[in-house]
């Protein structure tokens, strides 16, 4: 494939859209390894595509904070357990909050460390900025990546509450073990459910799934939201 042929046939776009036959892919790959202009073009397209696949393209919705509680209640003798309470302030619950602002939220969290708890949690309240990753039900789209590099991982779930007033959710690892669960008020139609997860409860490079149900009808699942953690 020549450079002119690549440009005229929108080869870069066809490559990204996976519209090429294998011989054509090979020909274009041979070309872009030798042509810096086409290499640059296909690289930037790939960067854009992978950013979208990772959920970096936010939708304009209003966020609500879900209260997050561990599956096991902390006890004085429980090792490695911690309670996390998120408190939403009035300004933060404003229904006019656009995604652009909600994309980076300041969340007040409180930690209670127990004997044997991980060193990461800090006793007392502090504000932490989080950037939620949008998750969709498992039938739609690639598995998004959620970073656990920061103290908290935040995910925004595209939930169709379909009349439910309260939701229940549980977070499971790849083995199906429940990491945590809880309940939250159903978000307004069109608004996502925001869940803030202490990163120390998650392992890096693992798959998890958040399942959301109608709290009033336990057998009614509203969505499974898989994601994969990254460092």
């Amino acid at each position: 494939m020549t450079h002119t042929e690549a440009v005229n046939s929108l080869a870069s776009e066809r490559y990204l859209l996976d519209e090429m036959s294998e011989p054509e892919r090979d020909a274009f790959e041979t070309h872009f390894f030798e042509c810096t202009a086409c290499a640059d073009d296909v690289t930037i397209g790939s960067r854009m595509q992978r950013g979208i696949e990772a959920g970096l393209l936010q939708a304009p919705h209003v966020a609500r904070v879900a209260t997050f509680t561990p599956a096991q209640k902390p006890t004085p003798t429980a090792a490695g357990s911690a309670a996390v309470v998120s408190r939403a302030h009035a300004w933060y619950q404003s229904t006019a909050l656009p995604w652009a602002v909600a994309a980076t939220l300041a969340v007040m969290v409180g930690y209670q460390t127990q004997q044997g708890a991980p060193a990461t949690p800090v006793t007392g309240d502090r504000a932490v900025a989080v950037t939620p990753t949008l998750l969709r039900p498992s039938s739609r789209g690639a598995v998004p990546a959620v970073s656990v590099g920061a103290p908290y991982a935040a995910v925004a779930l595209d939930v169709d509450a379909a009349g439910a007033t309260e939701l229940s959710y549980d977070l499971r690892d790849a083995a199906g073990t429940v990491v945590t669960s809880g309940r939250a008020a159903a978000p307004a139609p069109g608004a996502p459910l925001l869940v803030v997860i202490p990163s120390f409860t998650l392992k890096g490079e693992q798959r998890y799934s958040l399942t959301v149900r109608d709290a009033g009808q336990a057998d009614r699942t509203l969505g499974d939201y898989p994601f994969a953690t990254t460092p």
């Binding site: 776009e13 790959e29 810096t36 979208i52 936010q58 969709r136 739609r140 970073s147 693992q206």
Partner: protein
């Protein structure tokens, strides 16, 4: 091919030097000599530039991310070893073609060994033992921010199109019907969105 600076990279004001837009090098004899001499800047450019291209190529051929990374590293090792052994390339301008050819051989060997088809369970999560350095971790984090900010700047219609194509993985014919366009115009729309993304991405880099 557009003319490039032959030896000296163009520097740009940057927020984090490790994230600079790749300096424009020409793959000439001096470049290969610097690579053989293990010049750090040249090695960094080489691995970053061809790393992106190899990842693109290998992802379509090897489904496992770990295999893609292994194949990429194996390609680099073989290319650099050969260059050092032969003290360069007969035609330095064909460095890109050489890297591509080595990658093809690596993939062929993997196919032959059956590694490509080594089935992994759907929920298999292979731990990555490679330790990510603080620098690469920061680069990945800053890259995510830059990509997200560039995506945020796109017009709503382009965002919607891109979300359908790459996040929701909608059938392209369905997207065309929804927008009342043909497949070629879909590519044109993608082309425009990509160019706008590039403009914002580069302007973010310059800040």
């Amino acid at each position: 091919m557009p003319a490039l600076d032959s030896c000296t990279p163009r520097e740009r004001g940057l927020r984090f030097s490790g994230l600079s837009r790749l300096a424009r090098y020409e793959f000439d004899g001096e470049y290969v000599e610097r690579l053989v001499a293990e010049d750090p800047d040249t090695e960094r450019h080489f691995t970053r530039y061809f790393g992106d291209l190899l990842a693109l190529k290998l992802r379509s051929k090897l489904r496992s991310p770990a295999l893609v990374e292994d194949a990429k590293q194996e390609t680099f090792v073989r290319v650099l070893t050969t260059l050092k052994k032969k003290r360069g390339l007969a035609t330095p301008e064909s460095l890109g073609a050489f890297v591509n050819a080595v990658a093809n051989n690596v993939v062929f060997e993997l196919y032959r060994s059956g590694a490509k088809s080594a089935a992994l369970p759907e929920d298999h999560d292979e731990p990555d033992d490679r330790i990510q350095s603080a620098e690469t971790g920061l680069m990945a984090a800053e890259e995510r921010v830059r990509v997200r900010e560039a995506l945020d700047e796109l017009p709503a219609k382009e965002k919607q199109l891109l979300r359908w194509l790459f996040f929701e993985n909608r059938d392209k014919d369905e997207v065309c019907r929804e927008l009342n366009i043909d497949r070629n115009y879909l590519r044109v729309l993608l082309h425009r969105a990509k160019n706008r993304f590039r403009d914002h991405y580069i302007s973010e880099e310059a800040h």
